[in-house]
Symmetry: C2
Subunit: 287 residues, 2 copies
């Protein structure tokens, strides 16, 4: 297993972690100052600054991407909605290419309308079928342009609104169905916040193998957790066995970044400098 204690060369910052403190240009500058080598930005943050300017800033600072957030949200109210979702995913793939991302992360979506409290239907199997078709269509384009898609299983507590893919096993089953040849163009983003609890986690990470393990996200699960969305913990402050899981990832061949993604009203309320410095310190000690 890699030794993270000497430096933070393997650290990436998902830019949602400091989204309430800074715009993306400032985040890139602050990461550069701290010799953080990679980030994973969100599309709305990129759009706010302008993608060409983000591209320039990345080139100037030498910072790379560990992923691009995000495509997905395939299920829709009607045919027009499904078509719009596919077009939007194509644009996300193009943006990921422009910024030289190693993958586009997919939060696949679930019951249409559920996010605003008004689900149009309750048939989660239908949503799963629409997700399957949406990924299949996006994969066609991803293969043409060479941009890997990383399906992110989301915690079951977000199954109604955000993602109807909720376990690593389910995500890998879909990868095997849509990409039986293991082209390297379809895999998973293993975010421990969502999957740490899974009794089959070790087994499924081993099954995935290096060509399916496209991204690795870390933070921590707090006890108690006070909010279903925005109460994630800093690494070391919760119960997730980070090192044990990383050893499983590395045994399976993963050699990429450990990307810190913390949605937290607590950490968003602190100075961005403190957040980044803490990410570095915890990366070197507990991740």
């Amino acid at each position: 297993m890699r030794d993270f204690s000497a430096n933070h060369a393997a650290l990436s910052i998902n830019t949602a972690t400091v989204r309430k403190q800074w715009t993306l240009d400032r985040i890139i500058e602050e990461c550069a100052k701290r010799e953080i080598r990679a980030i994973s930005p969100w599309r709305d943050q990129v759009a706010q600054v302008g993608i060409d300017r983000v591209e320039q800033l990345l080139r100037r600072t030498g910072i790379g991407l560990s992923g691009y957030c995000r495509g997905g949200f395939f299920p829709a109210a009607d045919t027009a909605g499904l078509k719009a979702a596919l077009e939007d995913n194509r644009r996300a793939i193009d943006e990921a290419r422009q910024l030289d991302a190693p993958c586009l992360v997919l939060v696949v979506g679930s019951l249409p309308g559920a996010l605003s409290g008004k689900p149009l239907y309750h048939d989660i199997a239908r949503a799963r079928s629409e997700v399957r078709d949406g990924i299949a269509a996006s994969l066609d384009y991803a293969l043409q342009v060479g941009m890997p898609l990383a399906i992110e299983p989301l915690h079951p507590m977000q199954a109604a609104e955000r993602a109807c893919i909720n376990t690593l096993e389910q995500a890998l089953d879909l990868c095997d169905e849509l990409d039986p040849g293991r082209t390297g163009m379809l895999g998973v983003a293993a975010d421990l916040y969502h999957i740490w609890w899974d009794p089959k986690l070790g087994e499924q990470i081993a099954r995935a193998g290096a060509d399916r393990l496209l991204a690795y996200h870390v933070c921590d699960w707090l006890t108690p957790t006070r909010d279903l969305l925005n109460d994630r913990g800093m690494m070391g402050d919760g119960v997730i066995e980070l090192k044990k899981t990383r050893s499983w990832m590395e045994d399976a061949g993963y050699a990429g970044f450990a990307e810190v993604e913390i949605f937290s009203e607590d950490w968003w309320s602190r100075p961005g400098e403190e957040v980044l410095d803490t990410c570095i310190a915890r990366h070197k000690t507990v991740a």
Copy 2:
């Protein structure tokens, strides 16, 4: 599939649903008034009224049990704690027998101390191993006295504090390990709130079969869900496909009660009469 529209003969009320309105003696009276045939009481509610008096009330009203809540919480800080947990489970089995329950429901526990925000260790595999041993020991006694144990998989959002058994598959794997002969003395409580999201739900219900399906709990998953514990919905107010799931249960041979268990600050704030009347109405229409 059974037709629930004509009457509510298959309805059971988990007494936590109205625990903030009434003590257990009043709950039994109110259920009797409404011709509700079964309840599933909690140990603290029984203790408050006195188990002999509860037994008398049940006999007088003709109300039966659909389960007894609850045993479990096996992992502990030390050997003395583990021993105390086993003794407490034995007492729970004895109480279930006195009240003629068809099963004792097990909420198995997880990281010791996590419930009070101070987990003593983070090794969930260790907790799972202690749970396995605890159920094995309790099963010995359950077999002697003839009281079936129903393992309740809890939602993964409660994996750190309340139960490290989080899917039906995991619970059934444990049943197969500890009770390979399918004695009828070890099975599962299928609470849809905890397992509705599972992509393997239908498959695992079919696998379980009638002799493992010891209890069936219903309520609903709200969008949004505002609290990890006490924001469950009344049947029909959320996204769970109740009838589809019940058809799977009945196809697998389940012919027991549909037990309503709603932990909800909202429903606890309403008159108990309204809650019970709504349970009956929804049972007949959407469950």
